[in-house]
């Protein structure tokens, strides 16, 4: 992996160290070392099957849900320097700190309010005032409050696709995560809704660190501060987005982002 020289290195939010991941016998991630900088947007790009979603999902221990999956190495989480992958660390606690938004909007078949309040209730929050405040705050943070404030008791699946996705972001924000994972959050949305999500990502990075997987290279170029190119489970190149999109160091990165056959 080539690392582009950075003069000002922002503080770390997380760092993958010698990370390997196995789906039973199949190794999906190979010795990945990569920093995730605090309150920055990092984009993961690469062809299908390169391991970017696998890498993303390691951050909130989603692979724990299936037997036979195995991690090696660490993902250090700062400032407390916890190893997110350590068996002693409770995955539920990890998921409180690391939120996730998926490709297709997946609101629960509940009201708008209950969708956002869900994580808080799981955490044991019962106080109605606190719930109201946090739900409103999260919906505002996801730039959807004005559209839904008068219909919080409507069913979430009745919202438009773009609204549903912002609702899912609000749901992820409700537990005040430190890191948000986005797995192709706009691939099921139209260009206007996509624009709204991208704008939102830009605003959210004031508060949270964001790691985003996208197949849309121009989206990576637009929203991210750092970009990592992955191929066949390896991290080929990591650097500032401007450098990756203007002058990548590795020919494989170059071929991928310019759409060449290599």
């Amino acid at each position: 992996m080539q690392q582009i020289e950075n003069k000002e290195v922002p503080p770390l939010k997380a760092e993958a160290r010698s990370l390997n991941f196995f789906y039973s016998e199949v190794q999906a991630l190979k010795n990945i070392n990569m920093p995730i900088y605090d309150k920055k947007v990092t984009a993961l790009i690469g062809p299908s099957g390169c391991g970017k979603s696998t890498f993303l999902r390691s951050f909130n221990r989603m692979h724990d849900l299936y037997p036979g999956n195995r991690y090696e190495g660490e993902i250090r989480f700062f400032p407390d320097n916890t190893n997110l992958l350590s068996p002693e660390v409770d995955p539920i606690e990890v998921r409180m700190r690391v939120g996730m938004v998926f490709q297709k909007p997946n609101p629960f078949p509940k009201t708008i309010f209950e969708n956002v309040a869900y994580g808080l209730r799981v955490r044991g929050e019962k106080n109605r005032r606190v719930l109201d405040d946090k739900v409103e705050h999260a919906l505002k943070g996801a730039a959807i409050w004005n559209e839904v404030k008068d219909r919080l008791q409507d069913l979430a699946p009745n919202l438009s696709g773009g609204q549903q996705q912002r609702l899912c972001i609000a749901r992820a924000l409700a537990t005040d995560p430190e890191l948000l994972l986005f797995d192709e959050p706009t691939s099921a949305l139209d260009p206007i809704a996509t624009g709204a999500i991208e704008e939102l990502v830009h605003e959210l990075k004031q508060r949270v660190t964001i790691l985003i997987v996208t197949h849309n290279m121009q989206q990576a170029a637009r929203v991210s501060d750092y970009t990592a190119y992955m191929y066949l489970g390896e991290m080929i190149e990591f650097g500032k987005t401007d450098d990756i999109f203007i002058k990548p160091q590795d020919k494989r990165t170059e071929d991928y982002i310019t759409g060449r056959l290599s």
């Binding site: 121009q218 999109f245 203007i246 020919k251 170059e254 071929d255 310019t258 060449r260 056959l261 290599s262």
Partner: protein
């Protein structure tokens, strides 16, 4: 330069078309400059009209290439080496167009010098010499663009110093003539302008070479002094 082909053949064709047009424009501009210097050095002012009229073709190339560039950006959103190529081309085209303007100025100056001149011109050969060097720079800069050859491009950049030095020497020489015989001033000034245009052709050729290095390597070496 990345020589592997794109998934999109149409994109490859767009980029090839752009590069071909730049080289065609460069060839035309080089021919214009040669013809203008020939007109000056030989006194064959009949060619001046053609040179002046041909400049519209140079300008036409600039417009076509700019248009094509905008289309590529709008349709393909080029990145990395493709982006550098497209951006570099827009800048190269500007320099080529200016070289075309300088050639036109030289041609017009040649006509003034030869049709109304007060001065017999022993230094015509000197101007020709520096002009040949400037045009050789242009030729090599275009060559380096065609092959994205940074070594050739770097040679062009170094050659510019020589052209600048010779330009200054010629101006000093012309000042001497003017001081010795004020009747030569009008013509001598025309010749100074011609020399100036030649020197500018060298500068633009150097710019082209700098753009070539940017396209090939992503290094911006403009205004970097001698480190290039």
């Amino acid at each position: 330069m990345n020589e592997s082909v794109h998934l999109s053949k149409q994109f490859d064709e767009d980029l090839t078309g752009l590069r071909t047009h730049v080289l065609e424009m460069g060839g035309l501009v080089e021919a214009q400059a040669r013809a203008a210097i020939h007109a000056y050095a030989s006194g064959d002012t009949a060619a001046v009209k053609d040179i002046v009229e041909n400049d519209y073709r140079v300008n036409g190339f600039e417009k076509i290439i700019d248009e094509e560039t905008i289309h590529v950006v709008a349709k393909r959103q080029p990145t990395a080496s493709d982006l550098r190529l497209v951006m570099g081309i827009t800048k190269i085209v500007t320099d080529l167009e200016r070289i075309g303007d300088e050639a036109k100025k030289i041609a017009k100056g040649a006509r003034r010098v030869h049709e109304h001149g007060q001065l017999t011109l022993p230094r015509a050969t000197d101007v020709r010499h520096v002009a040949d060097e400037a045009i050789a720079m242009l030729h090599q800069a275009l060559d380096s663009f065609a092959r994205l050859d940074v070594v050739k491009a770097a040679e062009v950049i170094h050659a510019d110093t020589k052209v600048d030095t010779e330009f200054k020497a010629l101006v000093r020489q012309l000042i001497t003539y003017m001081m010795e015989d004020p009747r030569t001033i009008t013509t001598a000034i025309d010749i100074v302008w011609i020399c100036r245009s030649v020197e500018r052709i060298g500068d633009h050729a150097k710019n082209v070479a700098e753009h070539v290095i940017y396209i090939a390597e992503g290094r911006d070496i403009r205004h970097a002094g001698k480190e290039a």
